[in-house]
Structures are given as structure tokens and as C-alpha cells.
Amino acid sequence: MSALPEFENHAEQTVKTTTCYMCACRCGIKVTLEGNEIRFIQGNPKHPVNKGVLCAKGNAGIMKQKSPAKLTQPLVRKAGTERGAGEFEPISWDKALTLLTERLRKIRETDPKRLAFFTGRDQMQALTGFWASQFGTINWAAHGGFCSVNMAAGGLYMTGQSFWEFGDPDWDHAKYFMLWGVAEDHASNPIKIGLEKLKRRGAKFVAINPVRTGYQAIADEWIGIRPGTDGLLALSFAHVLLKNEQFDWDFLTRYTNSTQLVIHAPGTSDHGLLLRNDEGELQVWNQATDSVASWNDSSHDDSIQAALFGEFLTPGAKGGKTNGVADCTQVKTVMTHLAEKYLSEEYAPENVAATVGIDAETIERLALEMAHVAFKETITIETPWTDWTGRRHERFIGRPVAMHAMRGISAHSNGFQTCRSIHLLQVMLGAVDCPGSHLAKPPFPKHVAPPIKPAKAMAPNTPLASPPLGFPMSPEDLVVDANGEPMRIDKAYSWEAPIANHGMMHMVINNAVKGDPYPIDTLILFMANMSWNSSMNTAEIQDMLREKDEHGDYKLPFIVTSDAFHSEMVNFSDLVLPDTTYLERFDTISMLDRPISEPHSACDSIRQPVIELDRDVRPWQEVLVDIGTRLKFPALTDADGGAKFADYKDFITNWEKAPGIGFLAGWRGKDGDEHMVGAPNPDQWQAYQDNDCFFEHKLPPEQRYYRFANKDYLEWAKSVGFNGHAGPITIELYSEVLQKFRLAGQGLYDGPQPNNDTDRARLVEYFDPLPDWYVPLEEQRVDNDKYGFHAVNQRPMFMYHSWDSQNAWLRQIMAQNYLYMNRERGLGMGIDDLDWVWVESHHGKIRCQVKLMEGCNPDTVWTWNAIGKQSGAWGLSDKAPESTKGFLMNHLISELLPSKDGERGLTNSDPVTGQAAWYDLKVNIYKAEKGETGVYPSFKNIKRLPDMAESPTVLHYHTHEAVNLERSMEDALSRGHLPTGEKR
């Protein structure tokens, strides 16, 4: 081989590791630098999340760093100019922070709830939530409410673990994998890594999705479901499983509440609650003695034979008690209720086929395939383990059916119950946290539900007593005032959305501008593009942001935005606090937050700056600690008001949530040799930097499965602060919590009840204690003959929401989105490729361009999310296709449901969790007239920011002169044909 030149001058290169933040997957990266320029970003092969691979976005980090839309300095809206007009002036950091602190100080001293602090796609909710609690406002939440709280709540109120970022399929053992409504998800790289593993092992991959692209492309079977009907499909699967006696008796009896007894006492406040004794212990029916016994005893004592099925009457006469259990009470096991409900013919495949758009034989076959894999292809892992009762098991038995689901399920107003229905299937198959099934990622599983209640009490200058967000267990836990009216600005935890565990960010601007429930003073937005792609009804939201009262003052007086780029939201801000990029700052990705853990290891990680700052911007983390110190938050200052922490790094190192527990779990203790729990370690950051910026605690083999019942795991989880106690995590197929709300709706609850019929009816209708399906709310209210199509979105794998259109490489892949339709359906309507069409919803209309495709449910249209941009934002020219042809569906989606007579405006959200129902959208489509082209609506061009450089017209990015590989002239002259001179 001829000698090769030296292509790279390695001596002048340095390699640093950190954590990617081109999206929330948070992969480990190695960044090769030449001076302050990035030569190459690659995956870190040692990293537990991505194991060396990197997605398209991660690979485009250079162009994010080079973005002309990067903010360069703090800005204030020019006095006397209109909000949204884009007139800004630079302001020094010092002045900006003084200004903001003064404003906040006044709020905090008087009425802390007049500060609303909401954060978007961030992964530092532990910090922002801490900050809000210290400030003393309950008006804090992150993006979960408009993102996927249905998945979190659906899981946490049933199995203690959930889909979304909180668990993963067991890619190494699953033999059957069913993917429900996922285009990309947060585990962007891990899912891809996993799918490959599955396919190489020959497992079957079934994708349920109205559209066949991306992951669904490689599925062995594609089920092109009609949107919003997955719950019905899942329950029909359940029907088939029951009909064919395919459910895991053992699993149901041991680990779920299916043997517990539901009280039958219609018209009383006990109806539908679970039978308990005076000590509050749940009861089962002991077949051996034909009497009740406590569930806990039945778990430990083999002589108690808990009945799975049956309807019983406790002995004695009405009014009396035996062993603390009410006499003469009619009870039925949870499993009986469940079987009765799902065996009903309404769930028979032939009766759901037309609604879901899948033929009955297929539905039945899929259910029986899963049953086959679960029960006839059972796997074992020969590791002895001990359950919580102390019983030793010789091996882990696996039912290798795994599922994963995301926004195709959660972004519907029936998403919570649908998610529960999918979990129900897993539970019936015994496929929860066992080999081959869906596995929790530490700190999950948690007890159902985690014992944190949302804060409601507030007082001036006082931190909240509990976090703003938590898990209501009964109507008493709602955040409503004495009259039952919402107390939070987003109306989370009100009767309209009682289990709104992640808040309802999508309602904040609407409510605040209407002063409903009350006006606020300041809105701080961090990493959320609320005047564009993350709001429903974008055009009117922009108007609301400009809306003034009769004195000419803005109804939303002051908006502060922390962003790193010139987004649409920056344009609508009064104060802009520019952030660093992910390559320029220290950051923690904490176990107190959204975990980056893997199923078999608890992990956390950090970011470190790999390139030097060249602008007057500050990490938001630093800014938060700084403001909090100026405001003298008790956790940040000592008794005489002095700063406890020098800066963000110091805060992370030394602050403890509970003794020994802080933001970072690795290398704790004075000498850095304690993990998970330990005293602060002054050198902790360095330890992370020395360890590729992540920490991984691998679970020992005996702790890896059945963690809801695994003694060793449960004890460890308690010891490291994941769970409050080491008792078992019982899977709640029947949710007493939901039943309590339903009783409140029925007027039977012994406690708070809603004060109006609308809320009552919703509680009765949607709070079924067993997984249930109903027609999505928008579909219930619109004329479905007119609005005949479902309209949904998908995440493009190479774009992250709004923030990658500024990326010169990624936008070459896509700078315009189309409306995709089923080919035959489109042609039948006279619509062909690239035609412009009008798309109309009950709320508004848009004009966009169509592409026809095969892999699309005929009743569905869809597009890629957040490609459309407001002209002038993101450093793009006003001719950029993103703003001239690209479009958002958000204009069609109303934040309120179509109104009904006499009813107040109801949020377009899941009635249980308040999850934004983006994908309930129904539309009507017709061809635009000849000559009607270009996107509609279009928006005013956004002005450039002061001192913002012109975007370059050509790029020649490279870090060094290329070393050309020369061909010798001799070779060029002498070589005949190809290498050997002969044609092969």
C-alpha cells in the first residue's frame, strides 16, 4: 500500500467528553477540537445511553454552534415600542438582573403566585422546580402537560413505572414487540439500538400507527390504526385474551390488586371503593375459609387462598364488623369486574373493527400471537432472587412480550385511559418488569402513586412546603380554593384536570391574559417557544401576548425569556436573558429529575464546557442561582443573607435534598468513594469530568427484574431515596383514586365535590376505575361528516421541534413540510401531489401543500412537526421555505374545546390529566383555487436583533486545510482501465 499522508494533526487536537443536547435523549459525546473550533462530534462508546452512536441532530452540533441566530447579549424591549414588534435594546447583565430581581422581590413580598415560571424542553426540572418552591409560587411546571403526562400518569397510577423516558423495552430478551404511536421519542438512539437488536434476534415487531415511516418502516407488521382508537384496540385484545383464557393467574394474584374486593353499595359513598379493615388494610377473599383476609397476609401466608374471581357477601348483619371489616357488605374481586367488563361483546374484535379500522381477524390473531409468546415461549434467567415476602425464587421468569407507547397515545384526550389499557394488556400477560418485557429505569418503579402531594399553600417570602407538582390521591388533594375554583394559573389539579401531574403549560398564556382565575405580573419562560410551535392556536396566542387592558397596559405585564437563539418567543419578550449553548456550559442531568438511567443501571451525567464563550451570554443555571441568592432564598443564603454558594457548580456540589442526597449521585463522600448517597464531595465535578461526564451504578443481577416485588431492589431503592419505604409496589388494575373522583362527580364522595354539572359529568364519564375507552373529546363535539379527517404530527428524526431550522445542515434535509394523505383517498378527492389545499378545523384554517403516500390510514392526514417558522426568526431569510411554504398545524388546534351551550370554555386536554390533546384534531380538506399558493396564515417578518450579524450566504466550514490525497501523474498516465488494468 502506498504511504498515506498525515490527514489530521492529532497533536493540535484535543478531545473532550460531554453530554449532547441537540435533544432530550442526552447521549454521551466526544468532541474533537482544533483550537476553539469543532473538528468532529462523535458518540461516546462507553456511554450507557447511546453506546457510541449518534443521531442526525447530534451529528449536526457544529452547525448549531455556528448558528447565526445565537443570542449574543441581554436585551430589553425598547421603551414605547409594542411587544412583538421586535424592537430591542441591549442591556448589561447587571442591569438586567437588577431589574428582574426588583420586580420579583416585590412579587415575592406580596403575592408570590403572580410569578409564573414555566419551562419547555429542558431537563433540569429538579433545579427550576426547586427554584420555584424557594420563591414560593405554585405556578411552576415544565413541558410535561403539553407533552406526555398521560404516559407518566397512566403508568404511575397503575404499575409504578411508565413509558416515555421512564422505562425501556427489554431489547435483549423480548420476542414480541408492540410499538404504539411512536415516531421518534426521547430515547431516540436507544430505541434505534434496541430495534436493531430485536430484529437481529428475529423477534417480531408490530407497529401500531396510522402512518408508516421511520420505525414503522422496519416493522414486521404495520397496523394502520385510525387515530384515537388505540384504547379500544387494546381492550379488544384484552377481550380476546380473556375469551381464550390467556392471562397470568399467578402474576395477577401475587403482584396486582386483582384479588382485592370492590364494595358494591350503589348510591353510597363506599360504592366502588376497596374493602378495608379498620387498620386500613386491603382485603381479599380467602377461599380456604370463605372469609376475608388482609391482602398483605395473603401474600405472605400460603394457607390464605385469595380468590381471583367471585362475588361475595361478608358475613354478619348490616352495621356490624368482624375483625374490623364491615359485615354484610357485597363485594366482588377486581378481576371479576375486569373480566365482566372486557368480556362484554362491545369489545369483541368484530364489534370494534370498523371503529379502529382494522379487521377482526387481525385483532384476534395479534392477541393470540402475544399470548403464544408470553405463555408458550416463556424465558428464564437463572438468577435466584427474593420477593418482598422473603420467598426465594430460583429464577426470573420472563414473558417476552414488550410494549412501548408515546404521543400517538398520549396526545389524545383519551390518552390516560388508553395508556392504562395498554398497561392492562402487559399485566394480563404478566409482562411487566420481567425478562423480555417493559422494564423500569431507576428511580422507577415507584409506589402507586408516589407519595408527593402538590403544593397549594403560599405565603409571601416563604418557600412552598412541598413541591408545586405531585400526585393527588383523592379530591382532597386538588389545588382548588374553598369554592372549588382553580388556584394555579394553568388550572392544573382543578376539577377540570384533577390529575394534572405535570401542570398545563399550554393554558398559561390563555388564562393569564383572561385573568382567569387571576391576573399575574410576570411570566418567565425557559426553553419554550410559546409564541409559536408549543402553543395551540398560535396566531391568537400572539394576539393575546399583545392584548392590553383599558389603561393601555399589557394584560400579561412582563415576559422574561431565557433562550439561546432568536426564536419566535424571544420576539415577544420584554426581557431576554441569553443562554449559552450546550457545548458552552456546566449542567447536571440529575437522578432527581428525568433519569438517563438504563433499565439495569441508575445513571446521571453532567455537561462541561468544551468551547469557550465568545458572547455576552450566561448559563441559565448560573442566572437562577444568582437571582435566587439576590432574592435571599433560604436554601441559597445563610441567616444574615450571605450567599451560601459561590455559583452553580458550588450549589450542585454542596446542596443536599436530604442528608447525603444531592443533584449528582456519583462520587459522593469526602473522598469521592461513596455513590448514590454520601456527603458532598468538593471534587465531584472533576470526578465526573474524569469519567466521561457520566455516572453509572449497575444493579446486581438479582435486582434487575420484578423490582416492584424484589426485596433486595426495594430495600436498596429506599436506602438511596428513590422510594419512601421498601414495601411492595402493587399494580393497581383497578384505581380507587379514579373511583373517588367518580364518586365526587356522582355527588357521593365524602369530601370535596365539584360545584357545577360540567365537571360532575366529566368525572362520571371519564374516571372509570378500570381502563376504558371513549371517543376523543373534539371528535365528540364536531361534525364528523364535515371534519372527516384526523390530523396528526410526527417528529422528524433529524429535527428537534423548532430549534433545528437554524441548522444549516439539517435544514437541507427539510426546509418545507407537506401535508401527507393516503394516495387513493387523495386522488379520489381530485387532489394530487404538490397541490395546495385548504385544511379547516372547527377553529381555523391553513393552506399547505400535499404529498400523497401509501402508508397512511385513509382517514388520516399528517405532517412533520414544527418545520413552519415565522419569517425572520432563527437567522433565516424572509424567503426561507420554512416561512413561505412550511406550516404549523397549531393554527388549527384550539386550546379550548368546541363550545357547548351554557358551558364555560373547557381546555382541549385529557379530562383526567390535563394533557394537551394535540392529536384529537379533526379537519376538512379541499383543493385551493388556482393561483392560491403559499402558506396561510403568514405572519409579519420578525426584525433582526440589535448587533445581530447577517447570516452568511455560503459556508465553507472546516477546521484545517484539507490534506489532498494525490494521485501520481505516473499512475494517471500508466494505469489502463481500472485497478488491475483489466475489466473484471
Binding site: 434535509i813 426546509a815 403516500m853 402508508g855 498516465l973
Partner: protein, 310 residues
């Protein structure tokens, strides 16, 4: 294929020049220009050379990096473009010496031999140019022997008419040349008709073979870029069907029918103005023909960009 004007101008104009020089080169031996004096031959030869040179210069506009154009002689062993370049350069001294001989020595054996050699090189170059396109398996509309045949015939056609005009305008006899021209026009038109018929036949790779899925329909879903790329700019060119028929008709009328009628005396006596008209018409006709040659060529890579067949 995107029809680049510089390349069209080059192949048409240089082709005409080679046509002129070919006919001049063999004229003494074949009696095409029985009454031309050596300096008249030389003058006409110089006109031919000017055409060739103008064409060649234009061709360099097509190069993105013309400073390396000199390197194009290197791969004579395999590259038709290199061969064209080598012969084109070889051609100059031969042609110049011949013209000088003709000018200074008149009708000698040496002159005639050099004339023949020049004529031979002209044909070789026309064939090379044709082969540049004909050798591309990626474009079935080009990958045919008809391509070099066409380049040669159209070069000769233009050459004959231009030469005829030059003879007539100097009052020289054009009779023999015109009968040759008549034959060339007819042949060229026939060849072109055969060509049109041939490219109209379904053949060549389809999206099914391109992708390896031959048992069902295959359609492009996403090309992977929403704006332009080098490929769609270079290869994505498509002409509307109706426009295509029009252009084909226009080119056939201009390059064949009208010249044929003109030189066969249908519109009256064949004088210098008739021949000028015929030459101009043919030039315009061939220009359109050459535009179509590119515009109608469908590169196989288009299959990956949404075409069903080539």
C-alpha cells in the same frame, strides 16, 4: 439532463467547423470545390478553424475549474473526453500546416495528404465528441451508436451548407457539394428519425431494478432534501411533452426540411443568399436538436428522485 448553453454552442459550432474542414480537406481529391484557388481554400479553412476555436473556447465555460483543463489529455487510455481533447489539440498543427501548405504550395501531394489527415482528424474528433455521450451507460438516450453517427452527420450537414455558402458567395461552383449536402441532409434526418423512434421505446432501468424490488410498484416517498441539490440541477431537467413535440418538429424543419427545399431549388435559384439562409436555418435547427439531445436525456439517477423509468 440540464442543457448547458456553453456545451450546446460548443458541440454545434465546433461540429460545424469540423464539418467545413473535413469537406475542405477532402475537396481536392473528391472535386467538391473544383474551382477554388489555394488562397480561397485557405480562407475558408480559416473560417472553419474560427468556428472550431469558438466552440472549444465555449466548452471551457462549462468547466468549473478551467485552470486544470490542460490535464484533460492525461487519460487518453480510457476517456473519450480526453481523446477528444488530445485530437483537438493534435488537430491544430496538422490543420495549420495543411492550410499553410495549401496557401504557399497549392495543390501538391503533400497538401492533399495533409488535407486528408485533417479531414480524418475532424471525423475522429466528431466521433470522440459523440462517444463522450454514447459511452455513458447511465443515459440510455445517449448510449447508442446513433449518437456518434448523429454528431458526424450533423457536423457534416452544417459544414456542407456553410462551405456551400462560402463557395457561392465567392462565385465558385457548388454543384457537387450540393449533391453531397443533399445526401447528408437526408441521411441526418433519417438518422434523427430513427433516433426519436428508438428513444421512444420503453427500455432501460426502472425504479424497480434501481432499488431491487421488482415484484410490486415502487414509489418515491421522500427524496431526503427539500431544496435543490447538484443532482436535481444537473439531471432533473424535464421538458413538457407538448413542448417536446413542437421542438422536435421545429428542429427537423430548420435543420433538414428547409435546407433541403432551399438547396434543391424549390424556392428558386440556389445562390449565396439561399445558401446563407440554408446554413443559418440548419445551424438554428441543430442548435435546437442539440438542446433536445440534452433535454430529452434521462439520467438513471432520476429513478432515485421520483422517476418511474428512464
Amino acid at each position: 439532463m440540464h442543457p448547458a448553453l456553453s456545451v450546446i454552442f460548443f458541440t454545434v459550432t465546433a461540429g460545424a467547423g469540423y464539418g467545413v474542414l473535413f469537406l475542405l480537406g477532402i475537396s481536392r481529391l473528391t472535386g467538391l470545390t473544383p474551382d477554388a484557388s489555394p488562397d480561397q481554400v485557405t480562407l475558408m479553412g480559416v473560417v472553419g478553424l474560427v468556428l472550431v476555436t469558438a466552440g472549444l473556447l465555449s466548452s471551457t465555460f462549462h468547466l468549473a475549474n478551467p485552470k486544470n483543463a490542460w490535464r484533460s489529455f492525461v487519460r487518453f487510455r480510457t476517456s473519450w473526453l480526453s481523446r477528444e481533447a488530445v485530437f483537438a489539440v493534435l488537430f491544430y498543427p496538422v490543420c495549420l500546416i495543411w492550410l499553410a501548405c495549401d496557401f504557399f504550395m497549392g495543390n501538391t501531394t503533400t497538401t492533399n495528404f495533409l488535407g486528408l489527415l485533417t479531414a480524418f482528424l475532424c471525423i475522429v474528433i466528431l466521433i470522440c465528441t459523440g462517444m463522450i455521450y454514447a459511452s455513458l451507460k447511465t443515459i440510455r438516450q445517449w448510449h447508442t451508436a446513433l449518437t456518434p453517427v448523429n454528431f458526424v452527420l450533423l457536423g457534416l450537414l452544417l459544414g456542407a451548407l456553410i462551405l456551400g455558402f462560402m463557395l457561392a458567395s465567392q462565385g465558385l461552383s457548388t454543384a457537387t457539394l450540393m449533391s453531397v449536402a443533399l445526401g447528408v441532409v437526408v441521411l441526418a434526418a433519417l438518422a434523427k428519425i430513427v433516433y426519436f423512434y428508438w428513444i421512444g421505446q420503453p427500455a432501460g432501468p426502472t425504479i424497480n431494478t434501481a432499488l431491487g424490488f421488482t415484484r410490486a410498484t415502487v414509489r418515491l416517498l421522500d427524496v431526503g432534501n427539500s431544496s435543490d441539490t447538484f443532482h436535481n440541477k444537473e439531471f432533473g431537467y424535464q421538458v413538457d411533452k407538448v413542448k417536446l413535440i413542437w421542438l422536435r418538429t421545429i428542429s427537423m424543419i430548420l435543420m433538414a426540411l428547409l435546407p433541403l427545399l432551399l438547396i434543391s431549388g424549390v424556392f428558386g435559384e440556389v445562390g449565396s443568399s439561399t445558401l446563407l439562409l440554408a446554413a443559418l436555418s440548419a445551424y438554428a435547427g441543430v442548435f435546437v436538436e442539440r438542446w433536445l439531445f440534452f433535454a430529452e436525456a434521462r439520467h438513471v439517477v432520476n429513478l432515485y428522485h421520483g422517476f418511474q423509468r428512464t
